[in-house]
């Protein structure tokens, strides 16, 4: 029996389904632009309190919990990050700050998760899906981790968090290094399989607290090879606040890295994790796409695309249309929104002609 209420519910469901399926956000923080300030001298690579940062206006970027793909976590803690950006002739730097009640900078015990923050850049023109990109719309992600920061000099180890632990010794460990030698001293790393498999998480030491990654959809996040890791960083926690600097050369030799030039507008997005809240992977807060402006972009362009790496879209940068694999994808959601409006109108029309069961 089709009643008014059921039809209304069905129409709503269909509309919600379409919005979800085609990833059309109802609310968005689009329109926010971070203006990167050009400075003449060196960038403050590891000075979060440097006065040079004042040359860039801080932009507050709202974050919300990731609720598109499992695992979801509607109660993510970080609600906003403040961002400043600087660049000179060679490098670009971001200062990201956010409030956090606790400093979580260890991930050694099974229940410990570290605080983290990430910046995401599209590797195609336009805006691929704001969460981890999409097929044919890869993104470059810079991921700073509080535990990597804390372990920069020496990796955190089990005897750091369990100082009273006792062992007779470890097979394959260098006996000169003592009974509780770190795994990095092992003569045979086959029993440290993640290290033997060149997993950056298991490397003997971290070259930077920032991991340089590529993603092209949920579950596809992949670290770039060790020799391509070229994002530097520095984070400090004071007075309930994380201040994290990301730095990289404007131009990167890696094909799957974001590239920056003066007088251009780029897209970027942010994500943050509160370790104390067991946030990790998709259990995080994310922003929508934000614009990043370097210098004075040519007024005519108005394009929002990032500089695409070598011909990903084949358009040679001439086209001002947003394209993904040559598909005018912007029309897809437009068509669907149109379809949805027609659907809702039709629903309301049928609705008005149906009997109300209460009468």
């Amino acid at each position: 029996m089709i009643t008014r209420s059921r039809l209304f519910l069905l129409t709503l469901l269909a509309l919600a389904g379409m919005l979800t399926f085609f990833k059309i956000p109802l609310a968005s923080s689009q329109g926010v632009t971070i203006a990167a300030a050009q400075v003449a001298g060196a960038l403050p690579l590891d000075d979060v309190a440097s006065a040079v940062w004042e040359e860039s206006t801080a932009v507050s970027i709202p974050l919300s919990a990731q609720i598109v793909a499992r695992p979801m976590f509607p109660d993510a803690n970080v609600k906003a990050v403040d961002v400043r950006a600087l660049y000179n002739d060679e490098q670009i730097a971001f200062l990201v700050t956010w409030e956090d009640e606790t400093m979580d900078d260890t991930a050694v015990r099974v229940q410990d998760f570290a605080d983290a923050v990430a910046i995401q850049f599209p590797l195609v023109e336009g805006q691929p899906f704001f969460c981890m990109g999409q097929q044919g719309g890869n993104v470059n992600i810079w991921h700073w981790k509080a535990d990597w920061q804390a372990g920069l000099a020496t990796r955190q180890d089990v005897d750091d968090v369990y100082p009273d632990m006792y062992v007779d010794g470890y097979t394959f460990a260098d006996t000169e290094a003592g009974a509780i030698a770190p795994v990095s001293s092992y003569e045979d790393i086959n029993y440290v399989p993640a290290m033997a498999a060149d997993n950056l998480f298991a490397s003997a030491s971290y070259a930077s607290p920032v991991e340089d990654l590529i993603a092209g959809s949920f579950g596809s996040l992949t670290s770039q090879p060790a020799e391509m890791q070229n994002v530097l960083g520095h984070g400090e926690f004071t007075d309930g606040k994380w201040r994290v600097i990301f730095t990289r050369d404007l131009q990167s030799p890696a094909a799957e890295d974001a590239q920056f030039e003066n007088n251009q507008v780029y897209q970027l997005a942010f994500a943050a994790w509160d370790g104390a809240n067991e946030e990790r992977n998709g259990q995080k807060s994310t922003s929508q796409w934000i614009s990043l402006q370097l210098g004075e972009p040519a007024a005519a362009s108005g394009a929002t695309g990032a500089a695409a790496p070598d011909g990903t879209d084949g358009s040679g940068g001439q086209s001002s249309a947003n394209t993904l694999e040559g598909l005018p994808y912007i029309f897809v959601p437009m068509l669907l929104v149109f379809g949805a409006i027609v659907g809702v109108a039709a629903g309301i029309w049928v609705f008005s002609r149906l009997p109300d069961p209460k009468k």
């Binding site: 099974v110 470890y170 795994v183 440290v192 399989p193 290290m195 997993n199 949920f218």
Partner: protein, 422 residues
């Protein structure tokens, strides 16, 4: 969500990935009745795989004393409670319908929700129910060892009559646990980056150590809690099914599949490990000459652990004869009563097959029985039962004889002059 068929539940169920099956499945039978709780299996596994820094708390194989013991602490009580609360919230009951048994529903049909179905029903945002046990819950792996239930009926807790089957009032039993190398692993469902995979050649479930990022979603959502986090590498690790041995690549194996370390060392001879052939649709290809197929699917003597979790685990248990049946039914499903009845008065083939446990560390793919004379006739389950001195012969993957044992063990009498020699 895809729909997959779970024969242990006798029905299709929801799972994150489409149905896809290995050619052969790693499986084992653990005979709880024979276990002496010596932990030799536990030590063998530790000495083979988890002796390095960051693995101190890891016991890919552990033996816990039920009902109180558990590693990590209270794992099964906690997940059963979550599942029960999910049913209450959804206003559903978790009943088995044992009347509806059939070819592809040997234990009947489970009408409740699995850990993955309950997660969807409750909109948890995760692929399966679960929780992340903190370090203190992993730190006492054999807590409550040998702790029995209290004797009710005497002030001093002493029975004047002793204990008798079918159910002992004061009881405990050993539960031997490794990764179940499930057909529908919840760990693989939980991993947001598809770093966990099930091998096509033997169904062994592994964590890709190059893709793992230590999110611990597998630790959280494996209902059996057999995924473990390693703090020194920031990745999770788990039982690897001793895959070099199963592949026949171990120098000792002579090119044929070999039992895992935990199986091969068992002094109690409780374990039998092998590979069963799996059809494309996931059904077990009938092979009554394969000892695992015969005991699990033929006789239904060995049962899956907590089948209601819905992961289709591949380690099968012969339930202990003396423990209360409701507890056992909760743990092994509705097939418990029949399994105990058949184990108490085993068929001629079963009795001979039981000799094959731990007879060789080479995996037995085929067995034959040579009939022997009647040696004993007694009453079992209220009926006459005959014991024959049959001989069981086991063959490896290449069809070579690797074991030959008779039901009646050969008797060797020590000569008089050596009576006191050791």
């Amino acid at each position: 969500m895809a729909e997959v068929y779970n024969w242990q539940l006798g029905r299709p169920m929801e799972y994150v990935y489409e149905e896809a099956h290995p050619n052969r499945q790693f499986a084992a039978i653990f005979n709880i009745n024979r276990c002496i709780g010596c932990q030799t299996c536990t030590g063998a596994c530790k000495a083979t795989w988890t002796f390095s820094k960051g693995q101190e708390y890891m016991w890919w194989n552990n033996v816990e004393s039920k009902p109180y013991g558990s590693y990590p602490k209270y794992w099964d009580v906690k997940i059963l409670q979550q599942l029960d609360e999910a049913h209450q919230t959804a206003g559903r009951s978790a009943e088995w319908d044992p009347a509806q048994t059939g070819e592809q529903s040997p234990y009947g049909i489970y009408n409740g929700m699995t850990v993955t179905e309950a997660a969807t029903e409750l909109n948890t945002g995760n692929q399966a129910l679960g929780y992340l046990p903190p370090d203190n819950e992993w730190s006492a792996p054999n807590f409550y060892e040998d702790t029995a239930t209290k004797y009710q009926g005497d002030r001093l807790g002493i029975s004047t009559e002793g204990a008798a089957l079918p159910v002992h009032q004061t009881w405990f039993f050993y539960l031997q646990r490794i990764c179940n190398h499930c057909t529908y692993p919840a760990c693989a469902a939980a991993c947001p980056r598809k770093a966990i995979y099930k091998r096509e050649e033997d169904g062994i479930v592994l964590i890709d150590q190059s893709r793992c990022r230590g999110y611990r979603k597998c630790v959280e959502q494996c209902p059996y809690k057999k995924s473990m986090y390693r703090g020194t590498t920031h990745t999770s690790e788990k039982c690897v099914g001793c895959y070099p041995r199963v592949e026949g690549n171990d120098p000792l194996s002579d090119g044929v599949p070999m039992e895992t370390r935990c199986m091969a060392v068992c002094p109690g001879k409780i374990r039998l490990n092998g590979l069963v052939e799996i059809a494309e649709d996931g059904t077990w290809v009938e092979d009554l000459q394969n000892p695992l197929y015969y005991l699990i699917r033929g006789e239904q003597l060995a049962l899956p652990l907590y089948p209601q979790f819905g992961t289709e685990p591949n380690i099968y248990y012969i339930p202990p004869r003396w423990a209360p049946r409701p507890y056992l039914r909760q743990m092994f499903g509705p097939g418990v009563d029949q399994a105990i009845e058949r184990y108490s008065a085993p068929s001629r083939t079963t009795l001979a097959l039981m000799q094959l446990f731990r007879a060789t560390q080479t995996m037995v793919f085929k067995f034959e029985i040579e009939e022997g004379p009647l040696v004993r006739e007694i009453e079992r389950n209220g009926q006459a039962w005959q014991m024959y001195d049959d001989t069981v012969i086991g063959f490896d993957a290449k069809g070579r004889e690797v074991a030959r044992l008779s039901v009646v063990e050969p008797l060797h009498e020590r000569p008089k002059e050596r009576l006191n020699s050791i």
